[in-house]
Amino acid sequence: MSKLFQDTSLVPRLIACMDVAYGRVVKGTNFKQLKDMGDPIELGLEYQHQGVDELVFLDIKASVDKQESALELVNKVAKTLSIPFTVGGGLKQLSDVDKFFNAGADKVTLNTAAVENPELINQIANKHGSQSLIVAVDVNLESNGELVLYTHGGSKRVKTKYNEWMTEVINRGAGEIMINAMHKDGTGSGFDLELLSEREYSVPIIASGGAKQPNDFLEAINAGADAVLAAGIFHRGEYSISQVKNYLIQNQIQMRTI
């Protein structure tokens, strides 16, 4: 278990992530095979009523000219939902980030932009506070056993070393880190427990990628994750938020109940 939960009333969080394209929740292994999973607001409300602790909205088709529609969605989410939510996708500079906070986002998440312009992490932390920033780290376990960082939705290899990057992200002021194990994504073989347990971090770690069944969430939390994130397993209706939470509670993990 993460040290964050010692001597506090805080509990591990269950997060549902929605990939959004053209205003719809989608799921797909590549952009050409996107499957429509529903309306982001309707799905978000349903998850809220089921007891999800946080939501993440990622605009996977984001580009500067598409930002207007993303901002509209953020504004609508802020007005409709009453739980914290994070937005990401296509954020490049502080002025982009400011717009999303003005529209009502509680946190933003960076991936490619953080790697390409690490100073942006400091800028956001200084202006909006560390608690408002999640840095997402896409990491892949290559066939030679090396952990390699990727950006651009997993399509571009980066030279920076994974472990050094994790340290740098924290030092620059990220409030949380989302570890997305690419080699686990879509495999249904569970989160990467080794990545979660090999180091003790001073910021909350969100485990992402690979959840297929409730036991995967349990193992991730026991390995040290402060929060667990999943997408398809909920969108496809394989398990509900409350089923996963109930399983965790039955296995001695304290979770928020409603």
């Binding site: 964050l4 001597d7 506090t8 009333s9 805080l10 509990v11 969080r13 809220q48 009523h49 007891g51 602790d53 504004n75 802020a78 007005k79 409709t80 009453s82 739980i83 914290p84 906070f101 003005n102 529209a103 009502g104 509680d106 506070g129 560390s130 608690q131 409030g175 949380e176 001073s202 910021v203 909350p204 304290q254 928020r256 109940t257 409603i258």
Partner: protein, 189 residues
């Protein structure tokens, strides 16, 4: 029933406005004092000193003190709750409203801010064992007005109430359906 949300230019008010509207109450945002509301809500984000200095603008400080002494309902949220007290270690020259006695202290945990959901400890059934959402680095460790508390390195007050004055250290507007119920109950009568 009309809710007035005080705009002290300290953070985004959208969630709070939407929350009070979603509980069914007419809501107006006030950049200047107005008597034309039934209850005043004071949200606040950022440093204690900054929000305290904002109270000195537009005669807010005197207006709020009069408002409360006339028996009207006043609700402080997050730093807005901290401002109900006298002082804070975050900015020790800044003056709170002094409606409640005590000094705000830094939370005794290695990692601040505290961010996330925590279960309320309370003797009152409506609050007891309910989960609410926190984002704060400071808090009031104890107060005679404390009616619910949580732990983060040390115990601190999550909800304070003294007659017509109410304070939430957490964010009811971000605490799901329970948070909305709590807000609705707080705004009532």
């Amino acid at each position: 029933m009309k809710v007035g949300i005080i705009d002290l230019n300290s953070g985004n008010l959208l969630s709070m406005i939407s929350a009070t509207q979603n509980t069914g109450y007419e809501t107006v945002v006030l950049t200047k004092p107005s008597e034309n509301v039934d209850v005043l809500v004071m949200p606040g984000q950022g440093r204690f000193g900054f929000v305290a200095s904002q109270l000195n603008k537009n005669n807010w400080r005197n207006f709020i003190l009069d408002w409360v002494s006339q028996g009207n309902k006043f609700i402080g949220v997050c730093v807005g709750m901290q401002l109900l007290f006298e002082k804070s270690d975050e900015d020790n020259t800044a003056q709170g409203l002094g409606l409640l006695t005590g000094t705000i202290k830094k939370l005794q945990h290695v990692k601040t801010p505290m961010v996330g959901w925590a279960k309320l400890h309370s003797d009152l059934d409506f609050y007891k064992d309910q989960y609410v959402y926190f984002v704060n680095s400071y808090g009031i460790p104890q107060s005679e007005s404390c009616i619910a508390s949580v732990n983060y390195g040390n115990d601190f007050c999550a909800i304070v109430q003294k007659d017509n004055v109410l304070g939430f250290q957490f964010h009811p507007e971000k605490s799901g359906d329970y948070g909305l119920n709590l807000l609705k109950k707080a705004l009532e009568k």
